[in-house]
Symmetry: C2
Subunit: 512 residues, 2 copies
């Protein structure tokens, strides 16, 4: 398999006629071959028409057929082999071993959704029998099932070239729900996207599904994505990226004639709360583990620990000493793109120059595509009065907030915007203090962890990778884990249907 | 109990300091005593503060306590006795027997949600155990539950003074989910609202719940409602009413610093499709049943059959003859308010004057507060080219569309906006033709009925009273039936929590 610069529409490889662009090698800034061309309005129109045409058939595929399709996608991704890892490494600067793990997660995710489809619970079948003798009026027979929303637009994420891109979590959950998917590939890894896109297209063919079940469009700008979200045949959007990007899509979606849900996973600083006993017993250990989490993948995870809260005491100094020491030996890492690298450096510079902030460590010196992790500190009062300090710096930057006491720490938590995760580091003596905070944390974030860090998001039934706005656009859902399938479904009720007219899944218990 | 003109905030009766207004007797247009005063910004502020304060306690009440509270509300509503029906009859013009049935539905709804709370399934408890031996990294322990969103603003509906007002479906489902509720009473029935509000306040007291669990504000204008939706402590909105009203609230909610979900049930013309064999076998019977549904409660139901589609043939003439004959003996009915009556007359006049529309019947002559049902006809081509004909006329007005053939009928269905219900009238020979349409209908509406009409919405587990925009603001949910509880919940994941720190419901299966 070779990267050719193609898009995929209607089961065919299609050259874009839009603006030319190249993948950029993250580590060097050099352009990679071949050239890609952005899609056009006409490509969006065709892809949407194919998806709309495929929808009635695809959404009524048997559970077995749909599950098999998801498994075939996984097999086809594995079948790409080393070329996928090589290309992704060059395009993203992530290490081969990182990307191998991400590939494992990606195919595992597809297979998990296959199981979820076979289990069938997501259909939410409800049987609510008639009662002809009820007074004053007979009760009708009612049955309910979830149906797929319609074609879904999925935006590839820059930081997960496999697990949240062409065949990533949003695509897997939307396909599992019975929705055709049109992917807008992320321009930071167009070759990786093409390789995976071709694998999905192959799977569509092998499964004998309508060609419009899947499409993938390229674009280095915003036009294709915006046109996609505005298209009346698109019925939901999955997005992982910046707050600016997410808000722009939400605006387009809400101004449509028929507004549609946008599931945007946007920004989070993922507070870490260090409790006194945990700090006393394990300050050094926690400090090291914190730096490990902070610098994982150059800090380019949505669950990166960007904020550390603790009551100011001598054990916090031990944590800081341990963290700064670990940071000093953390090597520079390549960031995903020049733009992300630039934004990180700006964010770090802004913190460095902030009057209320002290720089603790910036590891080694910055290169032009490589950066080092950065650690800062401030106090609770300063944090509370400077909203700029609440903002995410995407990358391995974190801010320690020294709180005067429990009340101030609580005040800081209550002043925060919605988050994906909150981590608590506690030992036995901390449980009472932690318990008091849990209700606040439940309102703040989608996932609360004890003695761990938010990075390393498990793909499983009880995962919530979501949280109140602005962590996501819709805190009622998750983008990781099997619960994600519900984002792309809506309930339909069937009243007094003759058995022959019911969808097969709802015929089951009709026999008297 | 007597109507005093009060609001309820923080467990106390509070006089409004805003603009004075009176309830208007629907049948006569006369003002009723006593005077009401609208709430102020200060009242909104206080109610929101009380609700926010009550929230942590209320959302963690035991299932048994919360269920008992809902049942106590039902008991307290019954305990008001005849005064409730008398006042509601005067304020709404609905008949006493209609309102008695609506009261039965309202208390039944509260008791059904009590059962749903005891059952506890809405918590969505998920146990996802650790696997310390997993490679390359151990799997954490994950548990998930749904938590309540926060205080909910509920807007009383003009057309359901009991079942969708102060202690109606939105309030019942939000309270069941663990959310405190602040009701903005509908100014068309402030006295009815006060009586029910006092019953709920009494139930809060009897159940020993925090005073902020419930509040009710009055206002004849929009200020109180708008301030409520904008308040940062309000986390969701339940609304049943006009499209204009729903869209205004959606706009406020989306422009907040933290946008919140608005569940607005707005407008629907509820297409009825008459198939050829059903018409041949039962044209007269269907015609009579149609008029019964059309004129129920002066046609002021969201599920009122405002559109009839059939292939033009001689059996359709029989249906029309039967319907017009039934309409001619349908008595005039009082509408809910002068404004609604005026809007109905305007809508009917617009249809009467439309060049492509023929007036079939307007029953008896219109009075100044009483109106008669109206029936019109047009053809498929005209309907397709005049979007004004797709708009709801709130009240007992319906439009028959004569379609040339199955294709045109299908074209009409595909041109419609989202609906709450679609009804099919079929006999044996129609099933093949109906089956072909079902996928289109599933995309069009939240509920599909066979050989019935949408009015008479069952409150039960498999009901969907919802549907694609603009029937509602969010087609992924229902406002009637037990599934409505999910509108006010969001999932939270707990990772590696010590047993003592977990919410009680999630401790269950921890023991090894």
């Amino acid at each position: 398999m070779t990267v050719t610069g193609d898009q995929f529409i209607g089961g065919r490889s299609v050259s874009g006629a839009g603006k030319e662009f190249h993948a950029i090698e993250a580590a060097t800034g050099n352009a990679l071959e071949p050239a890609f061309h952005g899609g056009t309005g006409d490509d969006v129109e065709k892809a949407a028409a194919f998806a709309w045409q495929a929808f009635p058939n695809y959404r009524e595929t048997t559970l077995e057929k749909r599950a098999g399709f998801l498994e075939t996608i996984a097999d086809q991704i594995i079948a790409i082999g080393d070329e996928l890892i090589d290309r992704a490494t060059r395009e993203t600067g992530l290490s081969a071993s990182h990307l191998e793990r991400e590939r494992t997660r990606t195919v595992g995710q597809l297979r998990l959704f296959a199981k979820e489809v076979r289990r069938g619970d997501f259909q939410e079948l409800r049987f609510d029998p008639a009662d002809p003798n009820r007074l004053p009026v007979p009760k009708p027979d009612l049955r309910l099932r979830n149906v797929a929303l319609g074609p879904v637009a999925v935006f590839g994420a820059s930081n997960f070239p496999l697990a949240f891109s062409v065949a990533g979590g949003d695509t897997a959950s939307a396909l599992a729900a019975g929705c055709p998917v049109i992917v807008k590939a992320h321009p930071a890894h167009p070759g990786t996207s093409e390789l995976v896109g071709r694998a999905v297209q192959k799977a569509v063919e092998l499964a004998g599904l309508p060609a419009g079940t899947f499409a993938m469009l390229q674009d280095s700008g915003f036009e294709v994505g915006q046109a996609l979200v505005a298209d009346p045949r698109i019925r939901a959007v999955g997005f992982t990226g910046s707050q600016r990007g997410g808000l722009a899509l939400m605006k387009i979606a809400s101004e449509r004639k028929q507004p549609i849900p946008v599931y945007a996973e946007m920004s989070s600083i993922n507070p870490v709360i260090l409790f006194p006993n945990a700090l006393r017993n394990r300050a050094e250990e926690i400090g090291k583990a914190f730096v490990s989490s902070l610098s994982l993948g150059a800090g380019q995870f949505c669950t990166n620990p960007g904020l550390v809260l603790a009551i100011d005491d001598s054990n916090l100094e031990r944590f800081i000493a341990s963290a700064t020491s670990a940071l000093s030996v953390t090597p520079e890492q390549t960031m995903l793109t020049g733009g992300i690298c630039e934004a990180y450096k700006n964010g770090v510079a802004k913190l460095s120059g902030h009057v209320e902030v002290t720089k603790l460590s910036t590891g080694t010196a910055n290169g032009s595509h490589q950066v080092s992790a950065a650690l800062f500190e401030t106090n609770g009062a300063a944090f509370l009065s400077h909203h700029a300090l609440h903002e995410e710096v995407f990358g391995a930057s974190s801010l320690i907030v020294r709180c005067r006491d429990e009340n101030e720490l609580r005040g800081v938590l209550e002043a925060l915007e919605g988050q994906l995760t909150v981590s608590l580091h506690v030992d036995d003596g901390d449980l009472d203090a932690a318990r008091v905070l849990v209700p606040t944390l439940e309102m703040l974030a989608g996932r609360i962890l004890v003695n761990g860090f938010g990075t390393g998001v498990e793909v499983s039934p009880a995962m919530v990778h979501g949280g109140p706005y602005p962590a996501t656009s819709d805190g009622r859902s998750t983008s990781v884990g099997t619960l994600a399938i519900y984002r792309f479904l809506r309930p339909v009720s069937y009243q007094d249907f003759p058995i022959d007219l019911l969808p097969p899944a709802l015929r089951a218990s009709l026999e008297v």
